[in-house]
C-alpha cells in the first residue's frame, strides 16, 4: 500500500528544479527555503554530492505520534502524510521528532508543512529533467533498491578486476 517518491542518487544532476516547482505550486513563490523537497549538498574529498531529500512516508510515523493536536493523518488514497492546517498550531514538535528532517514549520504562515505528494500527482517528479525522482508504489521500492545495489556491486567488481590486472584489457 502507499506510494513513495523514490530518489535515484546517481541520476540527480542537482538542478534544483524540484525545489522551485514545489514552492511555486504550494507556496505560490519561488523560494527553495519553503519547499517540501530540499536539495542537500555535501562536500567530501573534493567531490560534491547533491541529493534531494523529502518525506520518507514511515510506517510508524514519529511526527504523527508526537503531534499534540493530532493534526497529522494519512491520506486514505495515496497513503501520504498530510497536516490539517486548521488543527496545526506550529509548535514544531513534528520537525524535532522527524529523523529525516522532512517536515518543518513555515514561519510565514506559522504552520507545519510536509510533502503531501501533491495528492497522487507529484510536481517534482514531473519536472525532474534527469529522471532522478520516480513516483512508485512502496512495495516496488525494495526491488528497485536491490537492483541498483546489485548493479553497483557488479560495476565495482568490474572496476576491481580492471584495476587489478590492467594487462587483461
Amino acid at each position: 500500500m502507499g506510494f513513495v517518491i523514490l530518489i535515484h542518487a546517481d541520476k540527480c544532476s542537482g538542478c534544483q528544479m524540484c525545489e522551485v516547482a514545489c514552492s511555486l505550486k504550494h507556496m505560490k513563490e519561488c523560494n527553495p527555503e519553503r519547499s517540501r523537497i530540499r536539495m542537500i549538498k555535501t562536500e567530501q574529498n573534493g567531490q560534491y554530492d547533491l541529493l534531494p531529500s523529502t518525506c520518507m512516508q514511515c510506517e510508524t510515523a514519529m511526527c504523527e505520534l508526537v503531534c499534540p493536536m493530532k493534526a497529522i493523518s494519512r491520506n486514505p488514497r495515496t497513503g501520504a502524510r498530510m497536516i490539517d492546517e486548521k488543527k496545526c498550531i506550529g509548535c514544531s514538535s513534528c520537525s524535532y521528532a522527524c529523523p529525516f528532517g522532512a517536515c518543518f514549520v513555515d514561519r510565514k504562515i506559522g504552520k507545519s508543512i510536509v510533502c503531501t505528494q501533491c495528492d497522487g500527482d507529484p510536481t517534482c517528479v514531473k519536472v525532474c529533467p534527469s529522471g532522478a525522482l520516480e513516483y512508485v508504489s512502496s512495495d516496488r521500492v525494495n526491488i528497485a533498491l536491490k537492483r541498483s545495489a546489485a548493479k553497483r556491486l557488479v560495476d565495482a567488481a568490474a572496476l576491481v578486476t580492471v584495476t587489478a590486472n590492467p594487462a587483461s584489457c
Binding site: T42, Q44, Y96, C98, P99, F100, G101, R152, A156
Partner: protein, 338 residues
C-alpha cells in the same frame, strides 16, 4: 460616624471617583490605540481604512462575546460573559441610578430596564460571584493558580450588588446600624469597585512548570502582544499588556494548557504604556552537529517521553537540527560507492 465623612463619601468622593474612572479608562483606550497603530501586525500596504477596519475588528473581538477559550471551558466562559455583561448593564440601566443622574448638572437620562429584570440579574451576579469564589477554592487546578487576591477581586466586585440589593429591598433593616448606613456602604463599595476597575488588567501568564517553550502562542497571537526573543541559549517570552485584546487565542492554542488569562491589579503597570515584560524563560539546546541554537529543552524531553510511551526508542538524530538530520540520514542510507 461623623456626618461630614458621610457627606464626603456621598458627594465629593463620588465625583472624584467618577472623574478617575472616566479619565483612567480614556487613557487606557488611548494607550491601546497608540500601541496597536505602532504594532507591526497591521497590513503595511493598502489604504488607511484597511488599517482602521483591522483595528475595529480587534476592538470587536475585545467587546463581543466571542472567546476562543470557549473551546476548553465552555460553561465557565459563558457564565463569565453573562457576569461581565451584568456588571455593565445593571448599574447603567437601573432606574434608581438614572433618577439620581437626571438630578445632577449633567441632566442625562435614558430608558431604564424594568426593575424586576434588574433584581433577577443582581441575584444572578451575586450567585455567579459566589460560584466563582467556590470554584477557586474547590477545584484543585484553579486553587494552585489563584491567590487570595483573586478571591478579593470577586468579593469587591459583588459587594456593591449585595449592598444595593439589601438597600433596595430593606432586607437588613431590623438591625439599626444597617438601616442607617446601608446607603453609604453601597456608595463606598461602588467607589472601591470603580477605582479597582481602572487599575485592573487581564494578563496572559505562562505557567513555568507546564510550558515547554514551543512558542505556538506567539504564532497564534493576532496583535503581536506575545513575542519571542532569543538571546544566546535562552528563549524569552515578552508581553505588552496594552496591546492585549484578551481574545484567548494563546489559551486555546497552548497544547500544554500552560497559558492562562488572569486578572491582576497593579498601579505601576498602568503607567507602563510601551514597555514589554518578560513572562517566561526557556532553555534551548544546541544542535550536536552544527552547534546552532535549535530546540527548547523541555519540548525535546516531552517528545522523548511520548516516543518511549509508544515503545519507540528515541532516535539519535533527535539532538540535530533539520539540515544536519537530512545530511545524516542520507549518509547512512547512501554510502559512497566502493
Amino acid at each position: 460616624m461623623p456626618l461630614e465623612w458621610l457627606n464626603f463619601i456621598d458627594g465629593q468622593l463620588l465625583e472624584i471617583v467618577f472623574y478617575l474612572f472616566g479619565i483612567g479608562l480614556g487613557i487606557r483606550c488611548l494607550a491601546f490605540l497608540v500601541n496597536i497603530i505602532k504594532s507591526q501586525f497591521l497590513p503595511d500596504q493598502g489604504f488607511a481604512w484597511k488599517k482602521a477596519r483591522k483595528i475595529l475588528y480587534l476592538l470587536a473581538v475585545f467587546f463581543l462575546p466571542y472567546h476562543r477559550g470557549l473551546v476548553k471551558q465552555p460553561v465557565y466562559t459563558i457564565l463569565r460573559y453573562i457576569f461581565h455583561a451584568c456588571l455593565f448593564f445593571i448599574p447603567v440601566f437601573y432606574s434608581g441610578h438614572l433618577n439620581m443622574l437626571v438630578d445632577t448638572h449633567l441632566g442625562w437620562y435614558w430608558e431604564p430596564i424594568p426593575d424586576n429584570y434588574i433584581e433577577t440579574a443582581t441575584l444572578l451576579v451575586i450567585g455567579m460571584g459566589c460560584l466563582f469564589i467556590a470554584r477557586r477554592i474547590v477545584l484543585q487546578r484553579t486553587r494552585k493558580q489563584s491567590s487570595l487576591m483573586d478571591i478579593f477581586f470577586i468579593l469587591i466586585t459583588i459587594l456593591p450588588f449585595i449592598t444595593g440589593y439589601w438597600y433596595v429591598n430593606e432586607t437588613l433593616d431590623h438591625i439599626s446600624f444597617f438601616k442607617n448606613y446601608m446607603w453609604y456602604l453601597h456608595v463606598f463599595s461602588g467607589e472601591v469597585m470603580m477605582t479597582m476597575a481602572v487599575f485592573l488588567f487581564i494578563r496572559t501568564k505562562l505557567e513555568a512548570s507546564r510550558c515547554v517553550g514551543c512558542s505556538s502562542c506567539t504564532i497564534s497571537c493576532p496583535t503581536g502582544t506575545l513575542e519571542v526573543k532569543e538571546t544566546g541559549t535562552k528563549r524569552n517570552f515578552l508581553y505588552s499588556q496594552y496591546l492585549c485584546i484578551c481574545c484567548g487565542a494563546c489559551v486555546s492554542t497552548c497544547p500544554e494548557t500552560a497559558a492562562i488569562l488572569k486578572h491582576e491589579i497593579s498601579i505601576p503597570l498602568f503607567f507602563r504604556f510601551f514597555g514589554k515584560k518578560k513572562i517566561n524563560e526557556i532553555t534551548m539546546n544546541r544542535c550536536e552537529g552544527c552547534r546552532k541554537v535549535y530546540a527548547p529543552d523541555p519540548q525535546i524531553e516531552k517528545i522523548k517521553t511520548i516516543l518511549c510511551a509508544n515503545a519507540i526508542i528515541p532516535p539519535e538524530t533527535m539532538g540535530y537540527c533539520r539540515r544536519c538530520k537530512q545530511l545524516l540520514s542520507n549518509h547512512m542510507r547512501l554510502p559512497h560507492p566502493i
